[in-house]
Symmetry: C3
Amino acid sequence: MANPIITLTTDFGLADPYVAALKGAILTINPRVTIVDISHAVRPQAIEQGAFLLASAWPYFPHGSIHLAVVDPGVGTERRALALQTPVATFVGPDNGLLSPALPDEVREAAWGHDQPVPVRLPAGYRAVSLANEAYFRQPVSSTFHGRDIFAPAAAHISLGVPLAELGPPVEEVLALAPFRARRQPDGSLGGRVIHIDAFGNLVTDVRCEDLPAERPTVEVAGRRIVGLSLTYQESAEIVAVVGSSGYLEIAAPRASAAELLGAALGMPVLVRP
Amino acid sequence: MANPIITLTTDFGLADPYVAALKGAILTINPRVTIVDISHAVRPQAIEQGAFLLASAWPYFPHGSIHLAVVDPGVGTERRALALQTPVATFVGPDNGLLSPALPDEVREAAWGHDQPVPVRLPAGYRAVSLANEAYFRQPVSSTFHGRDIFAPAAAHISLGVPLAELGPPVEEVLALAPFRARRQPDGSLGGRVIHIDAFGNLVTDVRCEDLPAERPTVEVAGRRIVGLSLTYQESAEIVAVVGSSGYLEIAAPRASAAELLGAALGMPVLVRP
Amino acid sequence: MANPIITLTTDFGLADPYVAALKGAILTINPRVTIVDISHAVRPQAIEQGAFLLASAWPYFPHGSIHLAVVDPGVGTERRALALQTPVATFVGPDNGLLSPALPDEVREAAWGHDQPVPVRLPAGYRAVSLANEAYFRQPVSSTFHGRDIFAPAAAHISLGVPLAELGPPVEEVLALAPFRARRQPDGSLGGRVIHIDAFGNLVTDVRCEDLPAERPTVEVAGRRIVGLSLTYQESAEIVAVVGSSGYLEIAAPRASAAELLGAALGMPVLVRP
């Protein structure tokens, strides 16, 4: 049988020893897991960015993978620690919205218009527990590093087959962020925003390809108007709108950084008209 | 039996979720591979730098390893996708010169004096296919991320033992870059250039140790003249010329950055005289 | 049986092909090891920082793990190459103080007040060899990259079960750095320093939690006085002193960089009074 997979998404960076401590804690419990980094470059304590990176990568992993995410500004306070099982994967992390990508968009829509994550009920086929059973903690538990002492051990025990119910009491509601999806405006346009700027300087927006108008759309961002979609980054000498590899509309500049050319920043509004 | 090894060389960076998506796509097809990063810090779309980093690392991996490389400015255009088998390893990536390190230097010499990669015939013992069989693609295929949808699945299927011929039609010619090797000038000197600046600030040149004059060579770079070779980085208080660990001549400064001290840049000429 | 674990701590950075060459050299000898990066972001040739990062991570790995560390300004000179076995793990690297975290603090106290590492006798239960048996080197041995050609092969052979005594002659003394532990002053205060600044901007000091006064301590750093300890990073709107996850006193700013706010730097003194 192949080894179970645990992915990691954190704001720890790669210079410090924290990611290695997490991996050591996992391997001490289950030396047979395959650990894969999703990203450790989430900006410190940027829960929504962490959620977006997790959302952009977890669907490409095998069914049954365990996705451990730690962006945890509330570590040591009363925020809950969660393990959340969906029909295809298991997610482990703090209950602060970071695990939202585990939930269907319809459920996350309850958070529309809220700056903070809101409590939502788990849909059918999903279950979660609060990681409260100290028998599965690494001892002693640091008040500042639950990633190593609570989350990593939980993920490792799940990878060994420990049932979720062993790890703590069931939870009916979890905190969720609004979906990464531009909203339809009364005038028929889509009002979205820049949710990520990648290493190439491409602006990733929350406008989904399935929401794009069938006719040639017009995209407005940073005072620039782009007419029509391109199929590849190469197609034009100008700034282009492209459906990116994750199905989000991206603004790109051939062989250059669109973010620099446009002076764009995270959160900047994007408007799509038919 | 040990797990097959797939190495990765890309310009994706480590902050974005792209490398993880690549790994997830591989592990979904073959969860038993060992994946090793060579570098994801190739400058965006710098094909030659990607080729040099691949050339500097792949020979240290076990025979039979699969080397997946994606620096792909032409993604979605008509450039071909390749799998290339040599007597000791398999290479997968775009047909844009990036896979040149798979080829013998003699073959690559056809590209001497060309700015762009040139088509070369595969030598005996080498074979390649164009990755055209959609049955081995990840569906749907994104027009901007063949790494995840075409190259990674090809590498993973090869690691499972799928024969190359299954993946697409044979190819007789591939695009190659000139070898990383300074050329002999009419006056007997070697005319090379700086092809990499490492994290220590050492200048890595394309002057090969086997081409160095038997007598004490003189190295000229950035207006500086260095007489003789040192055996270690420590040997002198001055800037030294050393044969680096990959057999290339390097210019180094003990406990300091030679690149900063010399104001050196990629591509800067290097001259070696007997 | 689970695969043996080899961890890596180097100053190679992740952009260059050196880390990959190390991994390839290991996997060529033993393709079944699990390789885990501790950090490759040690500042170039900063032996003490490398030792601190190793010290902060290795204890979280399973017993029997092999910890390979290469921060090696003296490569190619006469410094020895070591494999050092403790009751719980094996360490491989240059004999320049980098492997100090393998040794008990009591032993390392011989280096108090010394700027350079000092020779110490190995305590009972510890043994070391000088890696001198060329049969276990990768050939040819580069004079500038013993990591790939001597240390990595040694670690890989140890992971295969090759006895230490095979790798070279026994060594009774190794070079050690002073422990990462603030010293008690004549007036009862603890005089320590900032030994690491993490990616969040938290100042990690060498003041150990077990040395802290039972009463509310006062911490002085960078002209600032902090009274009392916090339990979490969130507890206050001000700069706080917290016992960090590795048991060291840290200075942190909630949702901000304490290093920036205080203008702090590595080595800056920290004073703790009862």
